[in-house]
Symmetry: C2
Subunit: 429 residues, 2 copies
């Protein structure tokens, strides 16, 4: 059969890029039959064409002249990562009328609206299914399947490295350092694990998910972010004792307010009941739990990273784009019409569990409880254990705003009878 041809320019030949190239070259006939167009790989843009690669790629396709490669393409697949030169290359491609596919969460989080606007102006498509949850279909379900529903909350394990580390702390009793070392040895963590461990990667994904779920641009710098470096083996053991599991999650939530709905996006560790579906997500797997008004609870589970896995999502986008080219009609821009206000993190509501070491003398519990009352935080549970001349105090709060909890923590920190705040964790029911 004679298909029309689409010129595909691939930027990047790392673990994902090499798999995309391989699949395009090997499965050409099948992909053409599915999409109605031949996906012709016209070049692979890399920094150094002579560099040693794990997957053999045809030498004649490699080029370090990315600008020229992009200029001649119908579709540009960007797997470089980072902001520049990815951003400029994609804007150039879009300006020339090309569609783009990207797995670059940092770029979409920081410059998504700029790319979407540029694409809408020329009728081009920006596809980014691989940017969140690797192989897991989550962008399309949020953008299309739930387009007629009102999403209330998205809570996802969207970073495989930190899930691997926390899972290992739970299953092996490892410390954070030990678990991180294993993650590095197994290739789950980068040499510099900051982006994962400090929650930057998950925060990019939270931005993307919140923007889609709430039809609202949620700027990356409005995402509250806490990583897992504060999670100790003792906190994990304490969670286990109460039938709970610690996970790093991205939470995107619709909050009420006197002036209408507001939205919040944040990344931090939480303590989940062991029966929660997200608690069963082990190793480096990802899962996204979505609650919508009509649909109820939905969960999407799978591999959040990996070369072939992420390449699957990239190729899904490519085939969809090729079908649109064959059928005609412009690309479909994401909708941000709702334009809801982004709530201050201090206004977010949560239940907290605080572990304190306090002096073991009369009146201390009353003093501590008084601090909570003073800041309007209602205490739901207290457990006290004596330890020599100290006492360990674990307090669970009712739902309270983050601002009130922060004020309580500052007051506890300044109180003479409080030796130290051992841990603070947010509880999910």
């Amino acid at each position: 059969m004679n298909y029309r041809s689409l010129r595909i320019a691939l930027l990047g030949a790392g673990s994902v890029g090499a798999q995309v190239a391989r699949l395009l070259l090997e499965q050409g006939d099948e992909l053409a039959a599915r999409s109605g167009a031949r996906l012709e790989l016209v070049g692979i843009g890399v920094r150094d064409v002579e560099a040693k690669r794990d997957v053999e790629l045809p030498r004649e396709l490699l080029t370090d002249d990315l600008a020229t490669l992009v200029a001649g393409a119908d579709v540009v697949v960007e797997l470089l990562g980072g902001i520049e030169p990815a951003r400029s290359l994609l804007l150039d491609a879009i300006a020339a009328g090309a569609d783009v596919v990207t797995a670059n969460k940092a770029l979409v989080a920081a410059h998504g609206p700029e790319l979407f606007e540029a694409a809408e102006a020329v009728g081009a498509q920006v596809a980014y299914e691989a940017a969140v949850g690797g192989a897991i279909p989550i962008i399309r379900p949020l953008e299309q399947s739930l387009a007629g529903d009102r999403v209330l909350r998205v809570m996802g394990i969207v970073n495989g490295t930190t899930n691997f580390i926390l899972d290992r702390m739970h299953t092996q009793g490892a410390t954070l350092e030990e678990a991180l070392r294993v993650a590095t040895d197994l290739g789950y963590a980068e040499a510099d694990p900051t982006a994962d461990v400090e929650g930057f990667d998950a925060a990019s994904k939270a931005t993307i998910l919140a923007s889609l779920a709430f039809h609202t641009v949620v700027p990356a710098d409005r995402v509250h972010r806490e990583g897992i470096t504060g999670v100790s083996a003792e906190m994990v053991a304490q969670a286990e004792r109460t039938g709970r599991v610690l996970k790093l999650v991205a939470i995107c939530e619709r909050l009420g307010g006197p002036a209408g709905d507001r939205v919040s996006a944040r990344v931090h560790p939480v303590s989940l009941p062991a029966t929660h579906p997200l608690a069963a997500v082990h190793e480096a797997k990802n899962a996204i739990f979505v609650t919508a008004e009509a649909a109820g609870d939905l969960m999407f589970y799978g591999a959040g990273a990996g070369g072939p896995e992420t390449a699957s999502a990239v190729l899904g986008d490519l085939v969809s784009i090729a079908r649109r080219h064959v059928l005609g009609g412009p690309g479909s821009p994401p909708s941000s019409h709702a334009n809801l206000a982004v709530a201050e993190f201090g206004d977010v509501l949560a239940r907290h569990e605080l572990a304190l070491t306090v002096a073991d003398r009369p009146g201390v519990l009353a003093a501590v409880a008084g601090l909570f009352a003073e800041h309007g935080v209602s205490v739901e549970s207290v457990r006290q254990d004596a330890r020599d001349d100290e006492a360990a105090l674990v307090l669970g709060t009712h739902t309270a705003s983050e601002a009130r909890i922060a004020a309580v923590l500052a007051a506890l920190d300044a109180h003479d009878d409080v030796e130290r705040i051992d841990s603070v964790i947010r509880l999910i029911d």
Copy 2:
């Protein structure tokens, strides 16, 4: 803002239809902002406009003249169920250039190709996200997100009624009859539960999933179907003792073969390890587990039925169709280019566990084992318990074709020393 208007005709005002009508009437502005078109509900086709309904619907929208209603619509939403008049009405609508949205799995399973061809001829769209898995996005992920991957297997809990019944047998030790009675009382089962309990509903969904996953029309009458009526409390107890859970699943599988890939779609109970993600799907929930070559394992979980839940999927389809109308371009037909052969059920491979009651005398085990050997079925495990002058024998096989297992069962049935075959269940690892 001034939007163009799309005339929506709704057929059916049952639990899903009433919710779709309510959401269209209540969320008109929001849906217009999301899609770029006003979704104007021009009529609700029902059998009896005077019938008493749970949800109040505007009297002036109700009509029993479905043909006239359909003739004036841009989009027809079909929630009548059953084959006729749904099929004829949709074909008329498509012939007139309308797009259609349907939640009717029986219709799509039996007449999908006819509807898709008719739609492709005029550039119209047939959307049916609600036909499988209720609120769970599964059609779009298979059709679009995995469009660049090679799906190896789809295994789904796609019937909430039977999952509720089996779950209750596990958690409460109930018999099938008791669990069915509770399901009926709670509204999970129809007065005539045949379609659910005998696996007809799941088989329709297997047809749809297999056709999508393998780009191949899988006729409804080629789906092997066994319901749950053969599942006894004793089988459930036996599964529990070995750390397993019984579930009714639809399995769509790509099989190798000397003349290339073949596909199989079937519905029957299986025994899953309690650690399998599908084992944790309780009550009337649905979940679909997909294994693809590059993406690996994915799971999609949520509510498989219910008025508001299913309405969410219908509205998602409606908004997607409205966006396409605004942007221009024809509908996107499903691809069936691969046209793979459908394997005979006898060629399907599985591990089986058989429980037999045999005479307790010397040589019986040897005779039974001999029957398996004679038919080329390799036995992996045997457990024998004496009971008075009988013995209970539980045999687990290695992977063997269904044809060989059927031959073994026939031979066992005819053997004098075999008192009865107590149960047969397929094992999933």
